[in-house]
Symmetry: C2
Subunit: 235 residues, 2 copies
């Protein structure tokens, strides 16, 4: 298995307990750490191997080189995001197409809650966000992978939820852009954590700080939904 496995293939491979599976897991974990912190170009294959307690040659052996390991990381991330978002993604489209505005809004806020908790508290979230922003967004090919694997199916469902909650048509450009605005708030407040900590006078983001963040984003997104609902007839 020298080629990049799909997220689902990757899940099976990494779940097994063969020696090679452990090596792969360790290498991906290590690569994610270093790529996220020092960037792809700034990371040496030697440091990846050292952190993973593996031999340098194992990178070429298992992933066909540094670039292949990067692709595996992207698929691993796609897998992780898929897990976090399963609440939304596992529902069939037809399942959420007839929710009441109130239920749709509840689902949206539920999802927001999950995303904030994940981005703010998960150890890997920082690495994942850092890695994607630093490396993935600037490579058209990898943007494609990310878009079709995660982004589009997720956004399709969120768009339906937004449509149900606001009464706007699903194809509305306004709706689509509003969702970007929503996600932007979530990600930026995690991304700019060094600035947030300094500005707020916080030492770290603990339960209290998490609650404050959730509170304001809750309000902001509720206000946005209210505004989008104006002048539209709820079914």
């Amino acid at each position: 298995m020298t080629n990049s496995p799909t997220p689902n293939e990757l899940r099976e491979v990494l779940a097994s307990d063969t020696p090679s599976a452990k090596t792969k897991r360790d290498l991906i974990e290590s690569a994610l750490y270093h790529f996220g912190h020092e960037g792809y170009a700034g990371t040496s294959t030697r440091s990846i191997a050292q952190t993973a307690k593996a031999n340098i040659a194992s990178i070429a052996y298992h992933f066909d080189g540094k670039a292949g390991l990067k692709r595996a990381c992207i698929n691993f991330i796609a897998m992780s995001i898929g897990d976090v978002m399963s609440v939304v993604l596992n529902r069939k489209l037809s399942d959420i197409e007839h929710l009441s505005p109130e239920d749709a809004r509840t689902k949206i806020l539920e999802m927001i809650d999950r995303m904030i908790t994940f981005t703010q508290t998960n150890k890997r979230a920082e690495l994942v966000i850092g890695f994607m922003l630093k490396e993935v967004l600037h490579s058209p090919e990898e943007v494609d992978t990310l878009y079709h694997l995660i982004f589009e199916p997720l956004m399709d469902r969120v768009t339906v939820l937004f449509s149900r909650a606001t009464g706007q048509p699903v194809a509305s450009d306004e709706l689509k852009l509003a969702i970007f605005a929503m996600i932007g708030q979530l990600l930026y407040i995690r991304l700019a954590r060094p600035l947030v900590l300094k500005r707020m006078g916080w030492q770290a983001v603990g339960p209290d700080e998490l609650a404050q963040i959730k509170s304001i984003l809750h309000r902001s997104i509720n206000a946005l939904l209210d505004d989008l609902s104006k002048g539209s007839n709820h079914a």
Copy 2:
């Protein structure tokens, strides 16, 4: 002048028309381009020199090495942002402390407009944002530079504006976080442009697309301000 000049010193240096000033300008311009696209570690001094049509050694001569050129880039960025934000920054704090809620809101939306236009249309905005995300946010020392030079004075004034517009006290944590949420929307929608274009079916962000982006962010931020104004007495 081998050490990193402050933004103001930098402005004078770069404005002069001596040969060395031109070389410095070219090197910073080139470095910004490469750092923004390939990251600091991913950029070789040779490619910087080649793009700038300068000799490799001139980097060491003028900036004391690659790291010094990076510092100069940060200061150059601070200078640029300072220019864009001058509408807000150049006002004394005492000058905006007594604005009416309506005037304050107008000022906020004016500022938003400027920021969106800059981030979405300025050639250098992509490089600046990419550079800061990739390199600056992960270096405590450079976060400090950025924070004290640009972020804090800017945020102080925006916070006062928000306070005047909503009736909330300036020291309010909610207000501070709300501003992060606002900025997050602006930056993310530029940052994730590859995803935005794909999602919206756009070829590029021209005048029409810019207007759409402004419209939705306008609505979102207005809604946020409305919500923050609830239950507070406007002076």
